[in-house]
């Protein structure tokens, strides 16, 4: 069973129901052809980097699925090409690292600008680290205030 990912961009001009039904037709096509849907991700309205069909935004969808054989993919692509509401599509086969990456991403183990080791440790330790970081700053501020207060007290005495 190979795992595939198909991204497609739906025309934003349509009404919300039409957009959802468009995406649903393709989800149903996958499951009716013997595929197992792993995840459907609606990435929502996004700004396009360059105009497509004279539109500057689009609704992005990503469907991850598993199929035992790949005949269905050709049919899906043909349907994408014929459908006027789909602006772009891209089918990608995921290797084992891609599968693992997507699973980790769904479980929240992939964060920004953190080392990739021990994500769970980071997640549980993050709150403690944040608290510890706040305390020294507060202490530093208090120390500065004390230092600022001392000379003024000295000058008043004089």
């Amino acid at each position: 069973m190979n795992q595939y990912e198909v991204n497609f961009i739906v025309d934003p001009v349509l009404s919300g129901d039409e957009i959802k039904s468009t995406a649903q037709t393709y989800v149903d096509m996958v499951s009716s052809n013997g595929g197992e849907i792993v995840h459907v991700d609606e990435m929502g309205l996004r700004q396009l980097a360059y105009p497509l069909k004279r539109r500057t935004t689009g609704i992005y969808y990503c469907i991850e699925y598993k199929v035992p054989n790949g005949e269905m993919i050709n049919k899906m692509e043909l349907a994408f090409r014929r459908d006027e509401r789909i602006m772009r599509f891209l089918t990608v086969r995921l290797d084992k690292f891609g599968v693992k990456y997507n699973d980790d991403k769904r479980n929240g183990l992939i964060g920004k600008k953190k080392s990739k080791k021990d994500k769970e440790e980071i997640k549980s330790g993050a709150k403690e680290v944040a608290k510890a970081a706040v305390k020294p700053i507060v202490k530093a501020k208090a120390a500065k205030a004390a230092v600022a207060a001392a000379p003024t007290a000295v000058s008043e005495e004089e």
């Binding site: 991204n7 961009i9 990435m43 996004r46 396009l48 980097a49 360059y50 497509l52 689009g58 992005y60 990503c62 772009r88 891209l90 990608v92 290797d95 690292f97 891609g98 693992k100 990456y101 991403k105 080392s115 990739k116 080791k117």
Partner: protein, 88 residues
């Protein structure tokens, strides 16, 4: 005979042996590059949207090729531009 302190060079003889370049993917054990993440891929393209060469980014050949395919897929999906200016 001039002592070592008297010898001055026009350019520092130690220049060039400063930073060890490394491939960040090999170092941190990253095995997959997601083409759906344009913020991450921005590190590997210049302000005109062109893919940066390996000697600038320090990537190994294997990951430079993966980055290139990821950028090209992102461009197809209109997440990154083909041509731009002042991208960053």
């Amino acid at each position: 005979m001039a002592s070592r302190d008297d010898i001055k060079f026009l350019s520092n003889p130690n220049i060039g042996s400063q930073r060890r370049k490394y491939c960040r993917f090999r170092k941190y054990g990253i095995r997959y590059i997601d083409y759906k993440d344009p913020d991450f891929l921005l590190q590997f393209i210049n302000e005109q949207g062109k893919i940066l060469p390996r000697r600038i980014t320090g990537n190994s050949l294997k990951f430079q090729r993966k980055i290139a395919t990821a950028v090209k897929r992102a461009r197809h999906l209109a997440m990154l531009p083909y041509v731009a200016d002042l991208l960053k």
